[in-house]
Protein backbone atom coordinates (compact mmCIF):
# COMPACT_ATOMS: atom_id res chain seq x y z
CA UNK A 1 0.00 0.00 0.00
CA UNK A 2 1.26 3.42 -0.86
CA UNK A 3 -0.70 6.62 -0.15
CA UNK A 4 0.45 9.91 -1.65
CA UNK A 5 -0.77 12.86 0.41
CA UNK A 6 -0.39 16.48 -0.64
CA UNK A 7 -1.06 19.57 1.49
CA UNK A 8 -1.29 23.03 -0.07
CA UNK A 9 -1.82 26.44 1.45
CA UNK A 10 -0.08 29.66 2.44
CA UNK A 11 3.10 30.03 4.49
CA UNK A 12 2.09 30.70 8.10
CA UNK A 13 -1.02 28.48 8.06
CA UNK A 14 0.89 25.60 9.59
CA UNK A 15 0.71 23.48 6.46
CA UNK A 16 4.14 21.92 6.91
CA UNK A 17 3.64 21.24 10.62
CA UNK A 18 0.39 19.39 10.01
CA UNK A 19 2.13 17.25 7.39
CA UNK A 20 5.00 16.51 9.80
CA UNK A 21 2.59 15.44 12.54
CA UNK A 22 0.71 13.20 10.10
CA UNK A 23 4.00 11.65 9.01
CA UNK A 24 5.16 11.07 12.59
CA UNK A 25 1.82 9.57 13.58
CA UNK A 26 1.96 7.09 10.71
CA UNK A 27 5.70 6.45 11.10
CA UNK A 28 6.01 6.03 14.87
CA UNK A 29 2.46 5.40 16.09
CA UNK A 30 1.19 3.15 13.31
CA UNK A 31 4.61 1.80 12.22
CA UNK A 32 4.46 2.55 8.51
CA UNK A 33 7.29 3.86 6.37
CA UNK A 34 6.96 7.57 5.68
CA UNK A 35 8.66 10.28 3.66
CA UNK A 36 7.74 13.89 4.28
CA UNK A 37 8.92 16.68 1.99
CA UNK A 38 7.96 20.28 1.44
CA UNK A 39 8.56 23.23 -0.81
CA UNK A 40 8.19 26.87 -0.07
CA UNK A 41 9.59 30.21 -1.11
CA UNK A 42 12.18 32.28 0.77
CA UNK A 43 9.49 34.24 2.64
CA UNK A 44 8.29 33.03 6.05
CA UNK A 45 4.62 33.99 5.58
CA UNK A 46 2.20 34.52 2.74
CA UNK A 47 3.94 32.67 -0.07
CA UNK A 48 2.63 29.48 -1.62
CA UNK A 49 3.48 26.42 0.43
CA UNK A 50 3.23 22.73 -0.36
CA UNK A 51 3.96 19.69 1.77
CA UNK A 52 3.87 16.04 0.82
CA UNK A 53 3.70 12.81 2.79
CA UNK A 54 4.17 9.35 1.32
CA UNK A 55 2.89 6.52 3.54
CA UNK A 56 3.72 2.94 2.67
CA UNK A 57 4.10 -0.52 4.14
CA UNK A 58 7.02 -1.09 1.75
CA UNK A 59 10.30 0.75 1.30
CA UNK A 60 9.62 4.15 -0.20
CA UNK A 61 11.72 4.84 -3.27
CA UNK A 62 10.33 8.01 -4.84
CA UNK A 63 9.85 10.28 -1.85
CA UNK A 64 7.73 12.94 -3.52
CA UNK A 65 4.15 12.94 -4.74
CA UNK A 66 3.42 12.87 -8.43
CA UNK A 67 -0.35 12.38 -8.50
CA UNK A 68 -1.99 12.70 -5.10
CA UNK A 69 -4.32 10.08 -3.60
CA UNK A 70 -5.25 12.50 -0.83
CA UNK A 71 -5.25 16.28 -1.29
CA UNK A 72 -5.74 18.84 1.49
CA UNK A 73 -6.29 22.48 0.50
CA UNK A 74 -5.86 25.12 3.20
CA UNK A 75 -6.66 28.07 0.93
CA UNK A 76 -7.94 28.93 -2.54
CA UNK A 77 -4.50 29.59 -4.01
CA UNK A 78 -3.26 26.16 -2.97
CA UNK A 79 -6.44 24.51 -4.23
CA UNK A 80 -6.25 26.19 -7.64
CA UNK A 81 -2.57 25.46 -8.03
CA UNK A 82 -2.64 21.73 -7.26
CA UNK A 83 -6.17 20.42 -7.90
CA UNK A 84 -5.04 19.52 -11.40
CA UNK A 85 -2.43 17.10 -10.05
CA UNK A 86 -4.69 14.79 -8.01
CA UNK A 87 -5.82 11.36 -9.15
CA UNK A 88 -9.33 10.98 -10.51
CA UNK A 89 -10.39 8.97 -7.49
CA UNK A 90 -8.51 11.08 -4.97
CA UNK A 91 -9.91 12.08 -1.61
CA UNK A 92 -10.04 15.87 -1.33
CA UNK A 93 -10.37 17.74 1.96
CA UNK A 94 -10.84 21.51 1.86
CA UNK A 95 -10.84 24.32 4.38
CA UNK A 96 -14.35 25.42 3.40
CA UNK A 97 -13.97 28.87 5.00
CA UNK A 98 -11.32 29.84 2.45
CA UNK A 99 -11.77 27.44 -0.46
CA UNK A 100 -14.67 27.90 -2.85
CA UNK A 101 -15.27 24.58 -4.63
CA UNK A 102 -18.59 22.81 -5.07
CA UNK A 103 -17.74 19.19 -5.90
CA UNK A 104 -20.06 17.08 -3.66
CA UNK A 105 -17.39 14.40 -3.33
CA UNK A 106 -15.10 16.77 -1.42
CA UNK A 107 -14.89 16.64 2.33
CA UNK A 108 -15.20 20.06 3.95
CA UNK A 109 -14.34 21.53 7.28
CA UNK A 110 -14.71 25.25 8.07
CA UNK A 111 -11.31 25.22 9.74
CA UNK A 112 -10.53 28.94 9.71
CA UNK A 113 -14.01 29.71 11.08
CA UNK A 114 -13.63 27.16 13.89
CA UNK A 115 -10.17 28.47 14.76
CA UNK A 116 -11.43 32.06 14.83
CA UNK A 117 -14.38 31.08 17.00
CA UNK A 118 -11.87 29.62 19.43
CA UNK A 119 -10.08 32.97 19.40
CA UNK A 120 -6.90 31.24 18.16
CA UNK A 121 -6.68 31.74 14.41
CA UNK A 122 -3.30 29.95 14.26
CA UNK A 123 -4.76 26.55 15.20
CA UNK A 124 -6.37 26.22 11.77
CA UNK A 125 -3.86 23.50 10.90
CA UNK A 126 -4.86 21.43 13.93
CA UNK A 127 -8.52 21.61 12.92
CA UNK A 128 -7.58 20.41 9.45
CA UNK A 129 -5.41 17.66 10.95
CA UNK A 130 -8.30 16.49 13.12
CA UNK A 131 -10.64 16.24 10.14
CA UNK A 132 -7.95 14.47 8.12
CA UNK A 133 -7.30 11.95 10.91
CA UNK A 134 -10.95 10.94 10.78
CA UNK A 135 -10.69 10.36 7.03
CA UNK A 136 -7.35 8.59 6.71
CA UNK A 137 -7.16 4.80 6.68
CA UNK A 138 -5.23 2.94 9.39
CA UNK A 139 -4.82 6.04 11.52
CA UNK A 140 -6.10 6.33 15.05
CA UNK A 141 -7.12 9.37 17.09
CA UNK A 142 -4.64 8.82 19.98
CA UNK A 143 -1.67 8.33 17.64
CA UNK A 144 -1.94 11.82 16.23
CA UNK A 145 -2.88 13.20 19.65
CA UNK A 146 0.40 11.81 21.01
CA UNK A 147 2.43 13.55 18.30
CA UNK A 148 0.68 16.87 18.99
CA UNK A 149 1.52 16.55 22.68
CA UNK A 150 5.14 15.73 21.84
CA UNK A 151 5.44 18.68 19.50
CA UNK A 152 4.15 21.55 21.63
CA UNK A 153 5.17 22.95 24.98
CA UNK A 154 2.63 22.02 27.65
CA UNK A 155 1.36 25.62 27.82
CA UNK A 156 0.08 25.57 24.24
CA UNK A 157 -0.49 21.85 23.66
CA UNK A 158 -3.96 22.15 25.23
CA UNK A 159 -5.46 24.57 22.73
CA UNK A 160 -3.97 22.62 19.85
CA UNK A 161 -5.49 19.40 21.16
CA UNK A 162 -8.87 21.12 21.49
CA UNK A 163 -8.66 22.34 17.89
CA UNK A 164 -7.60 18.86 16.76
CA UNK A 165 -10.60 17.35 18.56
CA UNK A 166 -12.96 19.93 17.02
CA UNK A 167 -11.81 19.07 13.52
CA UNK A 168 -12.18 15.35 14.20
CA UNK A 169 -15.73 15.76 15.57
CA UNK A 170 -16.69 18.05 12.71
CA UNK A 171 -15.71 15.36 10.23
CA UNK A 172 -17.51 12.67 12.22
CA UNK A 173 -20.71 14.66 11.92
CA UNK A 174 -20.14 15.27 8.21
CA UNK A 175 -19.53 11.58 7.54
CA UNK A 176 -22.74 10.72 9.43
CA UNK A 177 -24.70 13.20 7.35
CA UNK A 178 -23.22 11.74 4.19
CA UNK A 179 -24.05 8.26 5.42
CA UNK A 180 -20.45 7.07 5.15
Amino acid sequence: MRINVRFAGAGGQGVILSSVLLAKAYGLGEDYNISQTQSYGPEARGGACKAEVVISDENIDYMKVDQADVFIAFNQMGYDKYIGTVKKDAMVLINSTLVDADDPAYYRVPATQIAEEMGKPFVVNMVMLGALTKLMPKLHYPTVEEEIMQNFAASIAGMNLVAYGRGYQEMEIELEQRGE
Binding site: L28, D61, D89
Partner: protein
Protein backbone atom coordinates in the same frame (compact mmCIF):
# COMPACT_ATOMS: atom_id res chain seq x y z
CA UNK B 1 15.24 2.29 0.47
CA UNK B 2 17.27 -0.88 0.76
CA UNK B 3 19.79 -1.56 -1.95
CA UNK B 4 21.61 -4.89 -1.98
CA UNK B 5 25.32 -4.39 -1.81
CA UNK B 6 27.44 -4.92 -4.90
CA UNK B 7 30.56 -5.59 -2.90
CA UNK B 8 31.25 -6.49 0.68
CA UNK B 9 31.61 -3.02 2.07
CA UNK B 10 29.26 -2.71 4.97
CA UNK B 11 29.26 -0.06 7.62
CA UNK B 12 30.26 -1.29 11.00
CA UNK B 13 27.71 0.37 13.22
CA UNK B 14 27.87 -2.07 16.10
CA UNK B 15 30.81 -0.74 18.08
CA UNK B 16 29.91 0.80 21.41
CA UNK B 17 26.36 1.25 20.28
CA UNK B 18 23.48 1.24 22.68
CA UNK B 19 20.13 -0.20 21.64
CA UNK B 20 19.12 1.38 18.36
CA UNK B 21 15.92 3.40 18.39
CA UNK B 22 13.43 4.49 15.75
CA UNK B 23 12.84 8.18 15.27
CA UNK B 24 11.37 10.46 12.63
CA UNK B 25 14.01 13.02 11.72
CA UNK B 26 14.81 15.53 9.03
CA UNK B 27 17.89 14.70 6.94
CA UNK B 28 19.80 17.62 8.42
CA UNK B 29 18.93 16.59 11.98
CA UNK B 30 20.04 13.03 11.20
CA UNK B 31 23.37 14.42 9.98
CA UNK B 32 23.94 16.24 13.28
CA UNK B 33 22.97 13.13 15.26
CA UNK B 34 25.30 11.01 13.14
CA UNK B 35 28.18 13.40 13.74
CA UNK B 36 27.67 13.29 17.51
CA UNK B 37 27.54 9.49 17.38
CA UNK B 38 30.78 9.47 15.37
CA UNK B 39 32.45 11.41 18.17
CA UNK B 40 32.35 14.91 16.67
CA UNK B 41 32.98 17.26 19.60
CA UNK B 42 33.59 20.53 17.80
CA UNK B 43 31.30 22.30 15.38
CA UNK B 44 31.85 25.71 13.84
CA UNK B 45 29.41 27.06 11.28
CA UNK B 46 27.53 29.92 9.76
CA UNK B 47 23.82 29.35 9.05
CA UNK B 48 22.66 29.08 5.45
CA UNK B 49 19.54 27.57 3.88
CA UNK B 50 19.11 24.64 3.27
CA UNK B 51 21.68 23.40 5.82
CA UNK B 52 20.70 25.53 8.82
CA UNK B 53 19.00 22.74 10.78
CA UNK B 54 22.38 21.02 11.20
CA UNK B 55 23.82 24.11 12.86
CA UNK B 56 20.66 24.66 14.89
CA UNK B 57 20.72 21.15 16.33
CA UNK B 58 24.47 21.28 16.94
CA UNK B 59 24.09 24.54 18.86
CA UNK B 60 21.77 22.85 21.34
CA UNK B 61 23.19 19.30 21.40
CA UNK B 62 26.95 19.84 21.25
CA UNK B 63 27.25 21.24 24.75
CA UNK B 64 25.22 18.33 26.17
CA UNK B 65 27.71 15.97 24.50
CA UNK B 66 30.58 17.78 26.19
CA UNK B 67 31.85 19.49 23.05
CA UNK B 68 32.06 23.04 21.77
CA UNK B 69 29.91 24.92 19.26
CA UNK B 70 30.82 28.26 17.72
CA UNK B 71 28.76 30.35 15.34
CA UNK B 72 31.51 31.89 13.25
CA UNK B 73 31.66 35.20 11.41
CA UNK B 74 31.63 33.42 8.04
CA UNK B 75 32.32 30.16 6.26
CA UNK B 76 36.06 30.77 5.80
CA UNK B 77 36.36 31.07 9.57
CA UNK B 78 34.18 27.99 10.07
CA UNK B 79 36.37 25.77 7.90
CA UNK B 80 39.58 27.10 9.48
CA UNK B 81 38.18 26.67 12.99
CA UNK B 82 37.45 22.98 12.49
CA UNK B 83 40.97 22.43 11.14
CA UNK B 84 42.38 23.97 14.31
CA UNK B 85 40.02 21.97 16.49
CA UNK B 86 41.19 18.75 14.88
CA UNK B 87 44.83 19.67 15.54
CA UNK B 88 43.76 20.11 19.15
CA UNK B 89 42.41 16.55 19.17
CA UNK B 90 38.67 17.01 18.64
CA UNK B 91 36.82 15.46 15.74
CA UNK B 92 35.27 18.42 13.97
CA UNK B 93 32.65 19.26 11.35
CA UNK B 94 31.04 22.21 9.62
CA UNK B 95 27.96 22.42 7.41
CA UNK B 96 26.97 24.82 4.68
CA UNK B 97 25.46 25.22 1.22
CA UNK B 98 26.83 26.39 -2.15
CA UNK B 99 27.77 30.03 -1.42
CA UNK B 100 29.41 29.08 1.88
CA UNK B 101 31.07 26.04 0.37
CA UNK B 102 32.72 28.27 -2.22
CA UNK B 103 34.24 30.33 0.59
CA UNK B 104 35.63 27.20 2.26
CA UNK B 105 37.74 26.08 -0.70
CA UNK B 106 41.05 27.52 0.46
CA UNK B 107 40.72 25.81 3.82
CA UNK B 108 39.90 22.49 2.13
CA UNK B 109 43.22 22.62 0.26
CA UNK B 110 44.96 23.52 3.49
CA UNK B 111 43.39 20.51 5.26
CA UNK B 112 44.44 18.29 2.33
CA UNK B 113 48.09 19.43 2.47
CA UNK B 114 48.30 19.31 6.27
CA UNK B 115 46.48 15.95 6.15
CA UNK B 116 43.94 17.09 8.72
CA UNK B 117 40.85 14.87 9.06
CA UNK B 118 37.74 17.08 8.85
CA UNK B 119 34.16 16.61 7.68
CA UNK B 120 32.35 19.26 5.65
CA UNK B 121 28.67 18.94 4.81
CA UNK B 122 27.38 20.69 1.70
CA UNK B 123 23.58 20.60 1.46
CA UNK B 124 23.38 21.68 -2.16
CA UNK B 125 21.00 24.34 -3.38
CA UNK B 126 20.64 25.84 -6.85
CA UNK B 127 23.45 28.14 -7.99
CA UNK B 128 25.53 29.92 -9.17
CA UNK B 129 25.99 32.71 -6.59
CA UNK B 130 23.03 33.26 -4.21
CA UNK B 131 21.03 31.13 -6.63
CA UNK B 132 18.03 29.30 -5.22
CA UNK B 133 18.12 29.17 -1.41
CA UNK B 134 15.13 26.85 -0.99
CA UNK B 135 15.46 24.55 -3.99
CA UNK B 136 17.66 21.58 -4.70
CA UNK B 137 20.51 20.79 -7.10
CA UNK B 138 23.53 18.55 -7.63
CA UNK B 139 25.54 21.31 -9.25
CA UNK B 140 28.49 21.15 -6.85
CA UNK B 141 29.56 17.63 -7.81
CA UNK B 142 32.74 18.87 -9.50
CA UNK B 143 33.41 21.60 -6.96
CA UNK B 144 33.36 18.93 -4.25
CA UNK B 145 36.20 17.16 -6.08
CA UNK B 146 38.18 19.99 -7.63
CA UNK B 147 37.11 23.13 -5.70
CA UNK B 148 40.44 24.04 -4.13
CA UNK B 149 43.51 24.89 -6.19
CA UNK B 150 46.29 22.42 -6.80
CA UNK B 151 46.30 18.64 -7.03
CA UNK B 152 44.91 16.83 -4.03
CA UNK B 153 42.80 13.77 -3.29
CA UNK B 154 39.49 13.98 -1.51
CA UNK B 155 36.58 11.71 -0.57
CA UNK B 156 32.98 12.67 -1.32
CA UNK B 157 29.88 10.75 -0.16
CA UNK B 158 26.36 11.32 -1.43
CA UNK B 159 23.32 10.28 0.67
CA UNK B 160 19.85 9.79 -0.79
CA UNK B 161 17.77 9.13 2.31
CA UNK B 162 17.59 10.32 5.90
CA UNK B 163 19.05 7.02 7.12
CA UNK B 164 21.97 7.47 4.73
CA UNK B 165 22.41 11.05 5.90
CA UNK B 166 23.02 9.56 9.37
CA UNK B 167 25.09 6.55 8.28
CA UNK B 168 27.23 8.45 5.76
CA UNK B 169 28.06 11.15 8.30
CA UNK B 170 29.46 8.43 10.55
CA UNK B 171 31.23 6.93 7.52
CA UNK B 172 32.65 10.36 6.62
CA UNK B 173 34.32 10.60 10.03
CA UNK B 174 35.70 7.07 9.68
CA UNK B 175 37.16 7.76 6.25
CA UNK B 176 38.55 11.17 7.20
CA UNK B 177 40.40 9.64 10.14
CA UNK B 178 41.55 6.54 8.25
CA UNK B 179 42.98 8.49 5.33
CA UNK B 180 43.65 11.79 7.14
CA UNK B 181 41.82 13.84 4.55
CA UNK B 182 38.86 16.19 4.34
CA UNK B 183 35.68 14.27 3.54
CA UNK B 184 32.74 16.04 1.93
CA UNK B 185 29.20 14.87 2.64
CA UNK B 186 27.51 16.10 -0.53
CA UNK B 187 23.81 16.18 0.26
CA UNK B 188 21.06 18.25 -1.32
CA UNK B 189 18.01 20.22 -0.28
CA UNK B 190 15.60 17.33 -0.88
CA UNK B 191 17.48 14.92 1.39
CA UNK B 192 18.38 17.64 3.91
CA UNK B 193 14.79 18.75 4.44
CA UNK B 194 13.05 15.40 4.02
CA UNK B 195 11.73 13.59 7.10
CA UNK B 196 11.83 9.82 7.37
CA UNK B 197 11.77 7.13 10.02
CA UNK B 198 15.31 5.99 10.78
CA UNK B 199 17.32 4.00 13.29
CA UNK B 200 19.86 5.88 15.40
CA UNK B 201 22.18 5.07 18.28
CA UNK B 202 22.93 6.85 21.51
CA UNK B 203 26.42 7.18 22.84
CA UNK B 204 29.56 7.44 20.80
CA UNK B 205 31.52 5.34 18.38
CA UNK B 206 35.28 5.02 18.85
CA UNK B 207 36.91 5.99 15.56
CA UNK B 208 40.71 5.88 15.46
CA UNK B 209 43.02 7.96 13.32
CA UNK B 210 45.27 6.59 10.56
CA UNK B 211 44.07 3.01 10.80
CA UNK B 212 44.43 2.08 7.12
CA UNK B 213 47.62 0.05 7.20
CA UNK B 214 50.57 1.46 5.29
CA UNK B 215 48.53 4.44 4.05
CA UNK B 216 48.96 7.16 6.62
CA UNK B 217 50.24 7.43 10.16
CA UNK B 218 47.78 8.49 12.88
CA UNK B 219 47.17 12.19 13.33
CA UNK B 220 49.46 13.61 16.04
CA UNK B 221 47.22 15.77 18.20
CA UNK B 222 48.73 18.84 19.87
CA UNK B 223 49.59 18.87 23.56
CA UNK B 224 50.08 15.09 23.73
CA UNK B 225 53.78 15.27 24.46
CA UNK B 226 55.03 15.09 20.86
CA UNK B 227 56.41 17.92 18.79
CA UNK B 228 54.06 18.70 15.92
CA UNK B 229 54.61 20.93 12.96
CA UNK B 230 51.83 21.71 10.50
CA UNK B 231 52.80 23.30 7.23
CA UNK B 232 50.71 24.49 4.27
CA UNK B 233 53.71 24.58 1.97
CA UNK B 234 54.70 21.22 0.55
CA UNK B 235 56.82 19.49 3.18
CA UNK B 236 58.74 16.34 3.96
CA UNK B 237 57.89 13.84 6.67
CA UNK B 238 59.57 16.05 9.30
CA UNK B 239 57.37 19.01 8.35
CA UNK B 240 60.27 20.86 6.66
CA UNK B 241 59.43 23.00 3.63
CA UNK B 242 60.40 21.40 0.35
CA UNK B 243 58.36 23.57 -2.02
CA UNK B 244 61.54 24.64 -3.79
CA UNK B 245 62.74 21.07 -4.44
CA UNK B 246 60.98 19.67 -7.49
CA UNK B 247 61.66 16.00 -6.91
CA UNK B 248 60.54 15.91 -3.26
CA UNK B 249 57.55 18.15 -4.02
CA UNK B 250 56.47 15.80 -6.77
CA UNK B 251 56.63 12.91 -4.33
CA UNK B 252 54.51 14.79 -1.79
CA UNK B 253 51.80 15.54 -4.37
CA UNK B 254 51.90 11.91 -5.48
CA UNK B 255 51.44 10.80 -1.88
CA UNK B 256 48.40 12.91 -1.00
CA UNK B 257 46.72 11.82 -4.25
CA UNK B 258 47.75 8.18 -4.23
CA UNK B 259 46.71 7.50 -0.65
CA UNK B 260 43.13 8.00 -1.84
CA UNK B 261 43.31 6.94 -5.50
CA UNK B 262 45.12 3.67 -4.72
CA UNK B 263 42.42 2.82 -2.20
CA UNK B 264 39.50 3.78 -4.44
CA UNK B 265 38.23 0.20 -4.34
CA UNK B 266 38.20 0.19 -0.54
CA UNK B 267 36.37 3.51 -0.42
CA UNK B 268 33.94 2.71 -3.25
CA UNK B 269 30.36 2.15 -2.19
CA UNK B 270 27.95 1.22 -4.98
CA UNK B 271 24.52 -0.32 -4.52
CA UNK B 272 22.57 -2.08 -7.25
CA UNK B 273 18.89 -2.75 -7.75
CA UNK B 274 17.47 -5.18 -10.33
CA UNK B 275 20.85 -5.33 -12.09
CA UNK B 276 21.10 -9.15 -12.24
CA UNK B 277 19.54 -9.41 -15.72
CA UNK B 278 19.55 -5.73 -16.74
CA UNK B 279 20.62 -4.53 -20.16
CA UNK B 280 19.73 -0.92 -19.45
CA UNK B 281 21.25 0.70 -16.37
CA UNK B 282 20.35 3.97 -14.70
CA UNK B 283 23.38 5.39 -12.90
CA UNK B 284 22.27 7.86 -10.22
CA UNK B 285 23.38 9.35 -6.91
CA UNK B 286 21.89 11.45 -4.13
CA UNK B 287 18.19 12.21 -4.12
CA UNK B 288 17.79 11.43 -7.84
CA UNK B 289 18.58 7.74 -7.14
CA UNK B 290 15.12 7.44 -5.59
CA UNK B 291 12.88 8.44 -8.51
CA UNK B 292 15.34 6.35 -10.56
CA UNK B 293 14.57 3.29 -8.40
CA UNK B 294 10.88 3.97 -8.90
CA UNK B 295 11.40 4.26 -12.67
CA UNK B 296 13.01 0.79 -12.61
CA UNK B 297 9.85 -0.55 -10.99
CA UNK B 298 7.62 1.20 -13.49
CA UNK B 299 9.71 -0.11 -16.36
CA UNK B 300 9.59 -3.66 -15.07
CA UNK B 301 5.93 -3.49 -14.20
CA UNK B 302 6.54 -4.02 -10.48
CA UNK B 303 3.37 -2.64 -8.94
CA UNK B 304 3.30 -1.31 -5.44
CA UNK B 305 1.38 1.89 -5.85
CA UNK B 306 -2.12 0.53 -5.41
CA UNK B 307 -4.28 1.95 -2.73
CA UNK B 308 -6.07 -0.60 -0.64
CA UNK B 309 -9.49 0.95 -0.37
CA UNK B 310 -10.08 1.34 3.33
CA UNK B 311 -12.38 4.30 3.23
CA UNK B 312 -15.93 4.19 1.99
CA UNK B 313 -15.14 6.85 -0.57
CA UNK B 314 -12.48 4.62 -2.07
CA UNK B 315 -14.72 1.60 -1.83
CA UNK B 316 -17.57 3.38 -3.63
CA UNK B 317 -15.26 4.47 -6.39
CA UNK B 318 -14.01 0.93 -6.83
CA UNK B 319 -17.62 -0.26 -6.98
CA UNK B 320 -18.32 2.29 -9.69
CA UNK B 321 -15.48 0.79 -11.62
CA UNK B 322 -12.88 3.54 -11.34
CA UNK B 323 -9.47 1.84 -11.31
CA UNK B 324 -7.39 2.83 -8.30
CA UNK B 325 -4.22 3.42 -10.30
CA UNK B 326 -3.48 2.89 -13.97
CA UNK B 327 -0.34 1.02 -14.86
CA UNK B 328 1.20 0.18 -18.19
CA UNK B 329 3.28 -2.94 -18.21
CA UNK B 330 6.70 -2.70 -19.80
CA UNK B 331 7.96 -5.80 -18.07
CA UNK B 332 9.99 -6.83 -21.11
CA UNK B 333 12.33 -3.91 -20.38
CA UNK B 334 15.25 -5.14 -18.32
CA UNK B 335 16.18 -1.98 -16.47
CA UNK B 336 18.31 -1.75 -13.34
CA UNK B 337 19.75 0.91 -11.07
CA UNK B 338 23.33 1.53 -10.03
CA UNK B 339 23.36 3.91 -7.10
CA UNK B 340 26.71 5.52 -6.38
CA UNK B 341 27.18 6.41 -2.73
CA UNK B 342 30.88 7.33 -2.89
CA UNK B 343 31.14 9.93 -5.67
CA UNK B 344 34.88 10.59 -5.34
CA UNK B 345 37.29 8.99 -5.82
CA UNK B 346 35.32 7.89 -8.87
CA UNK B 347 34.50 4.19 -8.33
CA UNK B 348 35.79 3.08 -11.74
CA UNK B 349 36.28 -0.63 -11.17
CA UNK B 350 33.07 -1.12 -9.20
CA UNK B 351 31.06 0.74 -11.83
CA UNK B 352 32.60 -1.33 -14.64
CA UNK B 353 31.84 -4.54 -12.75
CA UNK B 354 28.24 -3.71 -11.95
CA UNK B 355 27.41 -2.56 -15.50
CA UNK B 356 29.38 -5.20 -17.43
CA UNK B 357 26.31 -6.85 -19.00
CA UNK B 358 24.54 -3.66 -20.00
CA UNK B 359 24.65 -1.75 -23.27
CA UNK B 360 22.77 1.42 -22.47
CA UNK B 361 23.46 3.73 -19.52
CA UNK B 362 21.22 6.63 -18.51
CA UNK B 363 22.55 9.21 -16.04
CA UNK B 364 19.89 11.51 -14.58
CA UNK B 365 21.25 14.33 -12.41
CA UNK B 366 20.15 17.75 -11.19
CA UNK B 367 22.79 19.75 -13.06
CA UNK B 368 23.90 20.26 -16.67
CA UNK B 369 25.19 16.70 -16.89
CA UNK B 370 28.47 16.79 -14.99
CA UNK B 371 28.94 13.39 -13.39
CA UNK B 372 27.82 11.78 -16.65
CA UNK B 373 31.15 12.85 -18.19
CA UNK B 374 33.01 10.65 -15.72
CA UNK B 375 30.67 7.76 -16.46
CA UNK B 376 31.32 8.25 -20.19
CA UNK B 377 35.07 8.29 -19.57
CA UNK B 378 34.98 4.95 -17.76
CA UNK B 379 32.31 3.16 -19.81
CA UNK B 380 33.69 4.05 -23.22
CA UNK B 381 32.28 0.97 -24.95
CA UNK B 382 28.67 1.66 -23.94
CA UNK B 383 26.07 4.14 -25.07
CA UNK B 384 25.85 6.69 -22.23
CA UNK B 385 22.90 9.12 -22.23
CA UNK B 386 23.00 12.21 -20.04
CA UNK B 387 19.69 13.29 -18.52
CA UNK B 388 20.33 16.70 -16.99
CA UNK B 389 17.71 18.75 -15.17
CA UNK B 390 18.10 22.30 -13.94
CA UNK B 391 15.77 24.61 -12.05
CA UNK B 392 15.45 23.00 -8.63
CA UNK B 393 12.95 20.17 -9.15
CA UNK B 394 14.04 16.58 -8.79
CA UNK B 395 13.40 14.23 -11.76
CA UNK B 396 10.06 12.43 -11.56
CA UNK B 397 9.96 8.65 -12.09
CA UNK B 398 7.91 9.14 -15.26
CA UNK B 399 10.46 11.55 -16.75
CA UNK B 400 13.12 8.90 -16.28
CA UNK B 401 10.80 6.18 -17.59
CA UNK B 402 10.06 8.27 -20.70
CA UNK B 403 13.79 8.61 -21.34
CA UNK B 404 14.21 4.84 -20.99
CA UNK B 405 11.33 4.22 -23.41
CA UNK B 406 12.73 6.72 -25.89
CA UNK B 407 16.22 5.24 -25.80
CA UNK B 408 14.93 1.66 -25.88
CA UNK B 409 12.83 2.55 -28.92
CA UNK B 410 9.50 1.77 -27.26
CA UNK B 411 6.49 3.77 -28.48
CA UNK B 412 3.86 4.30 -25.86
Amino acid sequence: MVFPSAGEKRFDMELNASDPKKVVLQGNEACAKGALYAGCRFFAGYPITPSTEIIELMSSEMQKAGGAFIQMEDEIGSACAIIGARWGGKKAMTATSGPGYTLMQEAIGYAAVTETPIVIVNVQRGGPSTGQPTLSSQEDVYQARYGSHGDYGIIVLSPSSVQEMYDFTVRAFELSEQFRTPVILLSDEVVGHMREKITIHDGSKNIKSGTQKFVVSPHADFFQGENSLVEGQLHDEWGRRIGHVAEQSGRFIQNINKKIQDNADRIADIRTYCMEDADIAIVAYGSVARPAANAVKLARGIRDERILPKLKVFRDLVKRGVPATMHTDYSHLKVGLVKINSLWPFPEEELKRSTQNTELIIVPEMNVGKYCREVERVLKDKKVISMPKSGGDIHTPHEILDEILKEAGVNE
